[in-house]
């Protein structure tokens, strides 16, 4: 079975899913991530799914559950890079991934995590630049 690597960068964990996961691989990733959050006292998790051309209900549920578990462990999760065709299909499937923070790409996702305040997602670029200075 394949195992998806998890990278640690400061207070954040980064995952880039590059393979089409079977269900077991997806569950292992969920377990590994929650374990690593605790081990490293991570404050944020970024999951890059730009390589995935299919996200079905199982993978979608894994992403939603991971975000929920991470939140309980005091870490925020951002899912980045979802392909438009995948987004269209997910919504039609009935999975809107409520509660999962998303961003268009890794850069924007990291910015969201760094700000650490998910409720600030609507702030203007100027405001977010200010927030960076204050850090």
């Amino acid at each position: 079975m394949e195992r998806i690597p998890i990278l640690k960068m400061g207070r954040f964990l980064l995952v880039s899913i590059q393979v089409d996961m079977d269900d077991r691989t997806a569950m292992t990733l969920q377990d590994d991530l929650t374990g690593q959050i605790v081990k490293h006292h991570a404050k944020g998790v970024l999951i890059d799914i730009s390589s995935l051309d299919v996200v079905d209900s199982f993978i979608g549920r894994m992403l939603a559950n991971t975000a929920a578990m991470a939140r309980i462990l005091d870490a925020e999760t951002v899912v980045v890079g979802m392909q438009p065709s995948v987004a269209i299909t997910l919504v039609e499937l009935g999975l809107s991934l409520k509660g999962v923070r998303s961003a268009l790409n890794v850069e924007r996702g990291m910015e969201l995590l760094r700000r650490g305040a998910v409720d600030m997602e609507w702030t203007t670029p100027e405001a977010s630049a200010d927030a960076d200075h204050e850090e």
């Binding site: 089409d20 996961m21 079977d22 269900d23 077991r24 051309d53 299919v54 996200v55 079905d56 209900s57 199982f58 549920r61 392909q83 438009p84 065709s85 995948v86 269209i88 299909t89 039609e92 499937l93 009935g94 999975l95």
Partner: protein, 137 residues
């Protein structure tokens, strides 16, 4: 309507659900489905293949390229010899599940397809066919 190509694959476990996604993608590309159309039928296939593994004890997928002289389509038929579905209406409802899933598989697969038929008999098994036509919304 003509069947221009067909193939049968066995689906027993989780790894084969992944290969189903790849095979269906290839067949969808071959008849020129758009990226969104491809993604919809591949996702629907993934749900139905997983259902077959989780609830039907595995089964068989038949892929067919269809040509009705005005348009081309891809038909997928999933057949298992599992316990069958006692209440189809309930099984199609979102959120209904007897396993650990979200209960989106069957209803979701139906929504992602242009045509959907289901035959099931308790104790004998289930056969589900979905079709996606090129250019159909």
């Amino acid at each position: 309507m003509q069947i221009t190509k067909s193939e049968t694959v066995t689906v027993r476990g989780g790894a084969e659900v992944v290969s189903v996604r790849h095979t269906v993608r290839k067949w969808a590309v071959e008849i020129g489905l758009t990226l969104v159309e491809q993604t919809k039928i591949v996702t629907a296939a993934s749900e139905l293949a997983r259902n077959m593994v989780d609830y039907g004890g595995g089964g068989v997928l038949m892929l067919e390229h269809l040509d009705d002289s005005t348009r081309r389509g891809l038909r997928l038929t999933f057949e298992d010899r599992g316990p069958g579905i006692p209440d189809i209406d309930a099984a199609l409802r979102d959120g209904f599940t007897t396993g650990g899933g979200m209960g989106l598989g069957l209803g979701g697969a139906k929504r992602l397809s242009n045509e959907f038929t289901i035959h099931t008999k308790p104790g004998e098994g289930t056969r589900i066919s979905i079709t996606r036509w090129k250019g159909a919304s």
